[in-house]
Subunit: 283 residues, 4 copies
């Protein structure tokens, strides 16, 4: 029995299960939409509570309130998670899907915090659940724009891999060189190669904390080269993605405006055209 | 009575009001242009005075001079604001327009400073009034170039929203992770999740103040990943805007060599069109 | 008498002056090329000497050597400057040209240093003279590539002006807001609005020294917004220049490959084509 | 005797040498692939060992283990290097090729460390050997994408040279100016022109360590200009590379749907060509 058949038969055989599925997984019915909006509010509140909980000054005052909210939200999410598994047609596909794993990870930390204090902060992973907002918006615009970005990134995947390997090699070699140059000074902060590689990454990406910075003349010369290199090669990923987005955009747009003239069969008409611009025939 | 009719009748009925409108709102007549240039100078002087007033060393010496200038300019701006409301044909449209609000906000702080000391610094919002300079320049070039930029940004609005949500999610999750990793050290500066999120933003945007920086090995490893991520994804908004500016430029250029249809007089034909795409008439 | 005529007549009347002009201003003859190469070496040595002179440790040891080199080079440059004025056909055009001013500025500081100590460091402006290297290279490639860059920047001039005004307005308003928020703390480093604007520029451009950084929660929140803004709008100038370089490149290339087919008169042949790709006629 | 002939004859005359070549230099046979995978693991382990060795805490505990691994790997690499020279058809071409030099440099430091302590850290240059991974992947995709990047960089070589010279000139002049402005303060960190140039590079590239930052008002004003300049001109290399990658991509794509001329068998025809552009034969 294939899923769509099962779905149809389920609708008759088990109307409750079907109803739950409709509310939880879809956002087309008023109930489904209301459910999703409540869900987003709960996620938002819960993430905010965890953030505030970590601020000692605020936590001191509202600790009990925060604990209550946290547990109420977690129990609601646990019920929701169980209902999702119950109502979905292929439970394992859901459980191992991106959203399934995120849903599980967003309830586990609270339970874990009973045994391991501190782990409750992991519930900020719930922030990922906010991505569900796109389902409510249901704006094909957002989805298609997101797809343009994703397909641009996917198309430049191999280029970015090649680029990242080059960056890694530069960083390892420059880090080691700096360790050799700066590491002899007993006051140095370049205490090991991994730390020096960390410094090289901080420099190449132009972040530049300044927690570690060269003090010898040769070290400053070498880091100047690294900076200019970083400044020049930041152009590469930008160039890659720019080029891909341009292409992805063109494809998207071209696919939208494809009416062919019934008389001369030529393409390329604007979406507001009512006559063929080549032969004058009405479109 | 529609506005244009009212305008014409007003010219006859109330010539003073019409004259004030011409001077204050338009920059085509010599009087109007002179008014706008004086206005810009006053804005510039006033912003400079507020800046200098905040420097203790300078303020000590010239305090009374600064107070006088500040009040003279504010009174002139108040008169101007009243005249604008008096002379404009639709006062409420002006009051709630962007410039109307800016005009009001640039006089309020000085009056407020009588009751709440410190608020006088808010008058730097007057800097926004400097945008009026574009009206004087009246260079269609500047306006059209500004439009290219604005339309490029508007066209990439949804892409940028999607991108910003991704950035926010990364920043919340990375900030929380860093709080867990670095927060156990009693000397740490990652004292709460909001502070850690602030750090994550400082890092991802490659600003890198260094007021907060990781000290544990795991923390340094995680922030290296965040930096490289920031370095890679800075490419995305750049790519988006590059691509849109290219397109906006093309559109702008295409519209420059347009021909209007001799039959329906509409614009917007492609340069390779031989028939009007709206009415089918040969071009 | 027009300049070219004068030049020809000069060649006969004043062969020495003509010879000097050929050596100093041109790089086609062996003597002219040798002169330019010696000149570049002198400039390089002189800039290096000034740099080293400023390092106390090195200066202590070699001070007299540095003074001698500096004066020898300056006297040579002074002679060269006089010869340039003597030999050039239109002295005032040269004196007020970019290179003429640079040439003068690169000898003045040494003489000035006799009266005002410290000014000798200004001779690093001689570094600008190194731009003469392009004349020796005489690689039309470099010149044309430089022109592509310059014309791209020139074409985006108005867009960049509009963008810069927007940046300035953001920076003034954000700086003032931060002064209001952070300035109340007696320990603050936001001691005045100009300093706060400096901080806003450091942040918006993602430089992030960390010499001044927000300490209040509201201040950190506001600077997070400023950073993300800076991260997003860095895309704008990049997009502008990318788009212009693409266009400038296309123009340059199109102008290079424009042989029309003698048979079908169509364009668009590659530079390595020997037959028309549309009709097969030999080009 | 040309190499391919020699290769064939070698296969018969010296089967062992031929077999070694196949295993070491090629990755098509199972033995060759296994060899390359083991090689990559050895490189990775070796680089990791050198990194960990530099961390005092870890080195204290595992020093003897690290020394053993290091020597085992070095001896294996030395054997491999000798075998490569023995089996390759043109030893000198290999020795002076990029990989040949890297292979030599990755064994030398360990031997050198017997005489000069500290030099063993130079073996991180082995990281360059990891680039061999591309040979295993044998994904023409990666190679062609890498070529797109390389050809984009090569095509923008002259533009980048011109740009870099401009950056250098800005940095030298700004550094000297800052030395003049800030250097008078006895507490200053702008102690010499080279240090000030280092600061100018740190600022222009938006790295911004904050180890050196301006303290005078004029210095802060000047560095604000430098930052905005850096912010604006970062657009230039990005624009250059973006534009080149777009073009390189187009070329690559066009070359994918090439047809070879039936008469002269040459490639590189445009997709709209109906006649061979080299010999005029119909395609």
């Amino acid at each position: 029995m294939d899923p769509t058949q099962r779905k149809t038969s389920d609708k008759i055989v088990n109307p409750l299960r079907h109803k739950i599925h409709e509310i939880i997984f879809e956002a087309d019915t008023p109930a489904g939409k209301a459910f999703d909006i409540i869900l987003l509010w709960l996620i938002g509140i819960s993430v905010a509570v965890v953030m505030l909980e970590s601020v000692p000054r605020i936590n001191k005052e509202y600790q009990s309130l925060f604990t209550i909210i946290e547990w109420v939200v977690t129990i609601l999410f646990t019920i929701e998670y169980c209902l999702r598994i119950y109502s979905v047609y292929r439970p394992f596909v859901y459980i191992f899907s991106f959203y399934g794993i995120v849903d599980l990870l967003s309830i586990l930390p609270t339970f874990l915090s009973l045994f391991l204090p501190g782990t409750q902060y992991l519930v900020t992973i719930r922030a990922l659940r906010l991505l569900r907002v796109f389902r409510i918006l249901k704006l094909s615009n957002y989805t298609s724009q997101g797809n343009v970005l994703l397909s641009a990134l996917r198309a430049s995947r191999t280029k970015i891999t090649v680029f990242m390997m080059a960056v890694m090699t530069i960083v390892v070699i420059m880090g080691s060189a700096m360790y050799l140059i700066e590491g002899t000074d007993p006051e140095t902060k370049f205490t090991s190669i991994p730390i020096s590689i960390y410094w090289a990454i901080v420099t190449l990406t132009t972040v530049g904390y300044g927690d570690i910075s060269p003090t010898t003349e040769l070290g400053q010369f070498l880091s100047s080269i690294l900076m200019i290199l970083g400044y020049a090669i930041i152009a590469v990923p930008t160039g890659i993605v720019s080029s891909e987005i341009s292409k992805a955009d063109v494809v998207e747009e071209e696919e939208i405006n494809t009416t062919s003239c019934p008389s001369c069969s030529r393409y390329g008409h604007d979406s507001d055209a009512t006559f063929c611009k080549y032969c004058g025939h009405s479109l």
